[in-house]
Amino acid sequence: MFADGITNAAVVEALVRSLSLSLAVALISGAAGCLVAWLVTRSDIGGGGALSGLFSMPYAIPAYLLGMAWIVLGNPAVGAIKEIFPQSGVYGFHGMVLVESTVAFAFPYLELKAGFERMDPSLEEAARMSGARPWRVFRDVSFPLLWPPMVNGMCLSFLYTLSSFGVPAMLGMPVRQFVLTTLIYSQFKLGGMSGIASGLRLSLVLLVLAMLVLALSNWLVNLQRRRGGAIMGSRVSRPGLVRLGGGRVPVTATVWIVFAAAVVLPWCALAFSALAPVAGNYSPSAWTFRNLEYVVNLPEFSEALVNSLALSISVATFVVAAGFFLAFAAVRRGSRAARWIIEAMGVPFSTPGTVIAILLIFISTWVALAMGRFGLSFDSPLVWMGLAYALKYCAVGARMLAAAYRQVHPSLEESAVVSGATTFILLRTIWLPLLSRTVLAAWFLTALPMFTELTMSVLLTGPGGATMGTVLFQLQEYADQPSAAALAWILLSAALLGAFFMRGRKAEEILEAK
């Protein structure tokens, strides 16, 4: 079936690896996410508030940056702590599990945290008053009532890992361990129509898998919604926190240390690497800004910066503006068509980026052929990238804004209508100011992932179509670690800016966006 230049055995191997990687990540991130969500919402762990915020760090920080950081630490040749890894260093299945689990942790964590926050705490307190110790309360009450969001969080982790490209490309491809997304990429890179064709067929497999998991996830969400009434508190009361007692200090320390090891350590390594004159020499006396200078002076860099800025700013603005009007029509005017469009936007959002890109490449080839017949030519990769970004992220703005419209009391709008406001004036003078914070947050939440986008860009790029993601990927492929690290820091700063804008937003709001 996949006969052109690719054996069935290779496909099966990639499929099995994709599935086992996704399953391992779902289980690990699920267990860790549950534990931390419980500690943060239900126990007196030290610095719980700060932890809660840090762990809610948006998914806007791209996973491949973390992958790069781990390469600095666990590169088998010059890695700073390569000794803790097996011979292949951080490369290979274990490395992919490590990095993907760290990033995917946010899904089960946020799902379950929102579940705990919504649940009436008296349900658990009643069990404690009945004599049940904290673990028993979890087993007999919390788990039976909250298993759907818990499993749903794991589904999202699974889906995320199945679709991810950057991490398996950086940690798997160098040791020839392919997953579905990277196999599609390597097929496509072989070039020609046969490359596109086998990429398309593999994409179909990936798409079917993703849709199956998505269906399970939706079923779980609806199940919990139906159960909602019996579980939610009529009045939100502060839960009585479980005292960890003598275990409080060790538990707090462990969580902070794991957080530091999984997140802070790699970022620091990346920073040191960016400042190092050559990979492996991290002594502070030798620190230099040469790498940063070198990267900024690369001709691709200015091209990529202009492209990425132009694409993310224009597409995010378009997508959020469209979402603003669509959500208004759907929520406040009850338009069926608008509601249907917003619903439909969820499909590309959940479709792996690799699949979207391959489909667009197929379409663009067809369009180029058709136009060629009329003596026209059209091959700007930027247009297709913009389209890909818009498809992938349009759901974020529309969903966040729909949720915001729903929260505002109708009387605010009605009083303006009574005063004689037309729809346009209404939107400009009432809704835009009321929803300005959400509009801004939605804009950042779409613009930032576009600015750092890798999965689709790397397939759609071409002459004149370099982006931040593709340049970084190239530098990493050339094994120019210090320059790659310097560029990674620029991207990370952008992502942290996004984290800043997401600060203080509740788990539910972030989930709504996803």
Binding site: D120, S122, E125, A126, S130, A230, R235, G240
Partner: protein
């Protein structure tokens, strides 16, 4: 065995904000004490301190001859052996009425036969035997409330803590439940600590009323004493509203 519940100088602050000024309260064995006050006065917090769901900032809580909270002592809620009924009922939706009421006995490792006997006896007390196999969503609000009461009573606790248990019921049902709780108290002889903002509940059921406002005790006494000589200021004002 005497098991008076004694609070000595119990206080609570959240950060810099003092929610409860140091207070002394005695719930004598077998009495029915009502904590009465407007919403936000700290009465629910006080109940949660006694239950062990919150930790006091100062003071001591003693039951009989056991220190529940004091210098170096803080017994977790599951080992304080109180029964508790919550404002939202907190009846577990995934268990039947029987399962809900059986739970405290099961957790304590009581044998199945004895458990069943005790549960059915308690349900009979609440006129709920017929509904033992139902799930909470098949019950009315009043029936859910009775389930919660049965769950609080089934292990025959020395003290039953009730947090605004009737506030979600309609007026007719409230009157019926007031009568029933009073009868239960007389029949079982346990101590009851009852938090409410509804003076009618307090005056109709309690043997002692403690009126709380803004984290301080304004007056305490029997219903008769308070009715005859309400303290000037807040208490007089509060009682004049129906």
């Amino acid at each position: 065995m005497m098991s008076d519940l004694v609070l000595k100088g119990v206080a609570k602050s959240f950060g810099d904000k003092e929610v409860l000024a140091p207070m002394d309260i005695v719930v004598a064995d077998g009495s029915f004490v009502s904590l009465l006050g407007p919403s936000g006065c700290g009465k629910t917090t006080l109940l949660r301190l006694i239950a062990g769901l919150e930790t006091p900032s100062a003071g001591e809580i003693i039951l009989g001859d056991t220190v529940l909270y004091g210098p170096g002592v803080n017994i977790p809620p599951e080992k304080r052996h109180f029964g508790m009924v919550f404002q939202s009922y907190a009846v577990w939706p995934h268990m039947t009425v029987f399962g809900n009421v059986e739970y405290p006995l099961k957790v304590r490792g009581m044998g199945r036969k004895e458990r069943t006997e005790r549960v059915m006896k308690t349900l009979a007390l609440m006129h709920m035997e017929e509904l033992a196999g139902r799930y909470p969503h098949q019950l009315s609000g009043g029936q859910q409330q009775r389930t919660a009461l049965a769950r609080g009573l089934v292990m025959e606790p020395p003290v039953l803590l009730l947090d605004e248990p009737l506030s979600n019921l309609d007026a007719r049902l409230r009157a019926e439940m007031r009568r029933e709780i009073r009868d239960l108290h007389r029949a079982l002889g346990i101590s009851i600590l009852y938090v409410t903002h509804d003076q009618r509940e307090a005056f109709e059921m309690a043997t002692k009323i403690v009126i709380i406002n803004e984290g301080r005790i304004e007056q305490e006494g029997t219903p008769d004493e308070i009715r005859r000589g309400p303290a000037p200021g807040f208490v007089r004002e509060f009682l004049s509203h129906e």
